[in-house]
Amino acid sequence: MYAVRAVDVTKIFGEGDTAVVALSDVTLDFTKGEFTAIMGPSGSGKSTLMHSLAGLESVTEGDIFIGDVQIGSLSDNDLTELRRDDIGFIFQTFNLIPTLTAMENIELPATIAGRTLDAGWIGQLLDILGIRERVDHRPPELSGGERQRVAAARALAGKPEVIFADEPTGNLDSKSAAELLGFLRRAVDDFGQTIVMVTHDPSAAAYADTVIFLRDGVPVSTLTNPDRDRILDEIKGLEN
């Protein structure tokens, strides 16, 4: 039912007088097979929320569930395995290992795990993303858009429980951005992938099924089946 859940999650950085409350009593559910966008101004806690959901950041209070697994109680090794096998990542920049080819980057999580990927599935991904001819090139030889697509291929290659995307289109021109987002949308629609995306761009958020708005570490509103205008209105409303 739910791919990812946060239950009463609080995250405080620092202590005493210099303590900063990044997240305050957050409870959220992310349904399987849905594309969710998280939006909010700087300092709203959206990056912290994603890092916590992905198990990269520990929480001060509360629980996070990936699938049925409560990740707070996992050892570092188990957590690492979870990231390797059940989560996909796409970052704004620096997604790829520069000394490996595109193909090797796509296979990387599987190589680390010692698994082999389904060749058919990989081929399909390469074609859909349009990067088949670039697989033997290294990241420095690829354009920004190509690199993000390779990252996306890597994220999808293992058919993870959830894909976390942190401002994936932040560094792209509008054409490449649209291509990438369209592909993410297709992954959800055609392949049933669950995607959680942090973004500040309303056009990007418009691709999602649900948009959650965060302010000062707390979710303040939610939009379903949004379009760009509604999102912009919501943002304007929140600013008052």
Binding site: H51, N77, E81, R83, R84, F91, F94, I97, L100, E104
Partner: protein, 854 residues
């Protein structure tokens, strides 16, 4: 992980090559020392097995444990009755039994005497029939004036058939005609030793052995077992003789030699160890920087699911790759180095048996193990640090700040304090009677331990010293390039410190050795000049320490024009109090002032008669004697009780083992054959020592076996000996300095990569390529000078402590300032050289690419 490791190395070939180079040096040293000693050993084996191959059993003198057949401590060659040969012949299973005689001799080649020591000259009786010696040219000796000489000797001294050679045994020199040359099996050169053979009866007469022989060569009949016959023979032999199968003899000789070689091996390995340690520093530093530079990438790997252990393994695998390559190259380089060492030694006049280069499987294994282990050990700490990289490091842009840990500072300061304290303590503890020269190694050990800790302490403290010291070194830098360079060097004090520390090790050791040798040399020279009374010394030439001068020499010299006095001194090996092996000297009390400069502190020289013995003050203090005490000394197996009647102090305060003096009459009673070992000649005051030497030389023209040395000659010999020792050690340490320089190159190379963006920015706003290069160059010079400062401090301080603990309180340290200055400026120059590659790399960066570098 393996793939990434390999890719990383391949992508950065220069960096990997430099890393490998740092280890190659150490590995090649290790390999070279094994190859060299193995080859030498194989050469010995060949020579010995050939020498003894031609007969089955050797009957020789039954020697004491520390006696050898042809050398000290006894000046005579042990022999036994000639009748032994016939006794042996009668044993069941013996086919032939051939007696032979041998002794050491002296040949006058008409060349300058090379001084004390050198290869021996062995004379023996020629054996007709099967023998290990084969005629090469000419014929065997028949007449009493004929001699056959070793091919190696003939070649070295350009002697051909028919030539006359002047040979002396115990008396004046005689002329002999060379009728043939011989080889030992196939060996034509044996470390420059000289062998000469005479007809049997002639040999007996010449060697003055009076119906004694020195060996019997035995062959057994077909079908008999060698060991069985050996047993039988031993049963009939007198006590002074013993039989061994040549097989066993070869093995024993080989074993003895192997032992000697293993000492040399250990000596070389010690220096190899130093080179490896320096290499370790370099590789450790490099990996640390590389891991830090790659932290973002490693963090990404963590996000994607790489476990900590896998990251650690990745770094270790990368190190292992470098190690394997380094080992491989190191083994090859090591063989070349061994060849080089051999060539150098041969150039210096040593002849070595040639058995090619022996690369034993063990050596290859050691090479790989050492190379791989060294690299792995250096990479361990950086590898483990990767475990601390949090996945979040890939997402944030924060540079990892290093807090100066208080425990780190504490450990560094305390180690430094303890080490300095130990050195000072040890040095102060040492006094004239308590130093390594007098056999007390206590203070030396303390200083040694302190020295070891000082290295560690300085290394630990270096990172805290880097900023102030470099600030000082670069003080007053007004130009922008110089200022930038200075601040860059101070920016990462830890990295700078480790790089400089590697130079500190090599340079510090070199400075220490230089100080030590200069001080010891000056000390010895001063003591010698202050203690020696004679102007000219006469001693027997050749390698026998206890040799005797030919009879008659003293009388000839005494009456010469220009000679004021000539005193004979006898030398006899003995076991001294404290169970040490040393010797007793015999001299006429009246002549003692011609020999030494001394003052009597207790008793009187007039009392030095009979069993009254005179002992040097330093020894008296060390042994705790009192005037009138009975001192037990063992000579030739018998224990004698002497009474301490005279205590004297050498004016030069030389602590050495010439401490016990008897009246010569008494020593002659104990051993009538002791002979005169030294004649001390005091010249008339207006005679120049060189003229005096010439006069004596002329008078002794028939006695070429006598070596005539003036005080000045002695001084020269000491200087030469010490000089060559220092040169060799310096050469061995130089390797470590080279490795440290590779370290500087590597550090700068990595720094440039790290600062790419910065350099791009500087270039964009107008810094010229030349200025960029100058900045890097200056930074290299500062780092090198920092290392030099540390090294010089280390060398001087440790040198001081060592001088005091070795020489004693009276020892003053001589600082060869020239060496120190050379070291300092040499380091600076080295910095300039080291900067070449990185500075061009920096200045050639494409500006736009550099700015955009992530």
């Amino acid at each position: 992980m393996v793939k990434i490791a390999f890719r990383n190395l391949w992508e950065h070939k220069l960096r990997s090559a430099l890393l490998a180079a740092a280890v190659v040096a150490g590995v090649s040293f290790v390999v070279a020392s094994f190859v060299f000693t193995d080859s030498l050993g194989a050469g010995f084996d060949d020579a010995f097995s050939e020498a003894l191959a031609s007969y089955d059993i050797a009957v020789g003198p039954n020697l004491e444990e520390d006696e050898t057949q042809f050398g000290p401590p006894s000046s005579e060659i042990p022999s036994f009755d000639a009748g032994v040969a016939s006794i042996v012949a009668a044993v069941d299973g013996v086919a032939t039994s051939s007696p032979s005689v041998a002794t050491s001799a002296f040949i006058d080649f008409g060349e300058e005497d090379t001084g004390f020591g050198g290869p021996p000259t062995i004379a023996f009786s020629w054996t007709e029939g099967p023998s290990s010696w084969k005629l090469v040219e000419g014929r065997s000796p028949v007449a009493s004036s004929e001699v056959v000489i070793f091919v190696g000797t003939a070649t070295d001294h350009e002697i051909s058939l028919g030539d006359t050679v002047r040979i002396a045994f115990d008396g004046p020199v005689e002329d002999f005609t060379v009728v043939g040359t011989m080889s030992l099996g196939d060996t034509t050169d044996l470390f420059g030793a000289t062998f000469i053979a005479f007809e049997y009866q002639t040999a007996e007469t010449l060697f003055d052995l009076a119906r004694q022989i020195t060996s019997v060569e035995v062959n057994i009949k077909e079908g008999f077992d060698v060991d069985a016959v050996v047993e039988q023979v031993n049963l009939v032999l007198p006590e002074e003789a013993i039989a061994t199968s040549t097989q066993t003899a070869v093995e024993e000789q080989a074993a003895d030699l192997k032992q000697g070689l293993s000492f040399f091996n250990t000596f070389l390995l010690a220096f190899a160890g130093i080179a490896l340690v320096v290499g370790l520093f370099v590789v450790y530093n490099a990996f640390r920087v590389v891991v830090a530079q790659r932290s973002k990438e490693l963090a990404l790997l963590r996000i994607l699911g790489t476990k900590r252990l896998q990251l650690i393994q990745g770094v270790l695998v990368e190190a292992a790759f470098v190690g394997i390559v380094a080992s491989f190259v190191g083994i090859l380089a090591g063989m070349g180095l061994a060849l080089g060492i051999r060539r150098i030694l041969e150039l210096l006049g040593n002849s070595l048996p040639d058995a090619g280069l022996v690369l034993a499987p063990r050596t290859i294994l050691v090479g790989f193990v050492v190379g791989i282990l060294a690299t792995l050990i250096s990479a361990v700490l950086p590898a483990v640090r990767t475990a601390r990289i949090s996945p979040m490091a890939a997402l944030r842009d924060m540079p990892s700040g290093r807090k100066t840990s208080l425990p780190g500072k504490l450990i560094a300061v305390s180690t430094l304090a303890v080490s300095i304290g130990l050195i000072v303590f040890g040095a102060v503890q040492a006094s004239d009677s308590k130093s390594a020269f007098t056999g007390e190694t206590g203070p030396l050990q303390v200083v040694g331990l302190g020295g070891f800790l000082l290295f560690i302490g300085l290394y630990l403290a270096a990172r805290f010293l880097a900023r102030p010291v470099i600030g000082l070194l670069g003080f007053g830098a007004k130009k922008m390039t110089a200022t930038l360079a200075r601040e860059n060097a101070r920016r990462s004090p830890r990295r700078t410190a480790t790089t400089a520390a590697s130079l500190m090790i090599g340079l510090g050791l070199v400075v220490m050795v230089a100080i030590l040798s200069a001080s010891v040399q000056d000390q010895i020279l001063a003591a010698t000049e202050d203690s020696v009374a004679a102007d000219v010394f006469l001693q027997p030439a050749g390698s026998d320490f206890f040799g005797k001068l030919p009879t008659g020499v003293l009388d000839i010299v005494k009456d010469l024009d220009g000679v004021e006095t000539a005193t004979g001194v006898n030398l006899k090996p003995a076991t001294l109090p404290g169970d040490t092996n040393g010797f007793v000297l015999g001299i006429h009390p009246e002549g003692m002032h011609s020999f030494l400069k001394f003052e009597v502190t207790q008793g009187s020289l007039d009392d030095m008669v009979g069993d009254s013995i005179a002992v040097q003050q330093i020894e008296v203090e060390a042994q705790g004697f009192q005037l009138g005490d009975v001192i037990a000394i063992t000579i030739d197996g018998d224990e004698y009780s002497f009474t301490l009647a005279v205590v004297f102090r050498l004016l030069g305060d030389t602590p050495d083992d010439q401490s016990y003096y008897l009246n010569e009459a008494r020593l002659l009673e104990i051993d009538p054959n002791v002979g005169i070992n030294t004649v001390a000649v005091v010249l008339d005051p207006e005679v120049d020592p060189e003229d005096g030497k010439a006069t004596i030389n002329e008078a002794l023209v028939d006695y070429p076996t006598v070596r005539i040395t003036t005080l000045a000659d002695l001084v020269e010999q000491i200087k030469t000996l010490l000089g060559s020792l220092v040169a060799m050690i310096g050469g061995l340490l130089f390797m470590s300095v080279v490795i440290a320089l590779i370290g500087i190159v590597l550090t700068l190379y990595l720094a440039v990569i790290e600062r790419t963006r910065e350099i791009g920015l500087l270039r964009a706003i107008g810094m010229s390529q030349k200025q960029v290069r100058r900045t890097i160059r200056f930074e290299a010079v500062l780092i090198a000078l920092f290392g030099a400062v540390l090294g010089i401090f280390l060398g001087v301080f440790l040198g001081w402590g060592l001088v005091r603990s070795i020489i004693g309180e009276g020892g003053s340290m001589t600082i060869p300032w020239l060496w120190l200055l050379a070291g300092f400026f040499g380091a600076g120059l080295a910095g300039v050289l080291a900067a070449i590659i990185p500075s061009y790399q920096a200045s050639n960066l494409d500006v736009l690419e550099a700015i955009a570098y992530e």
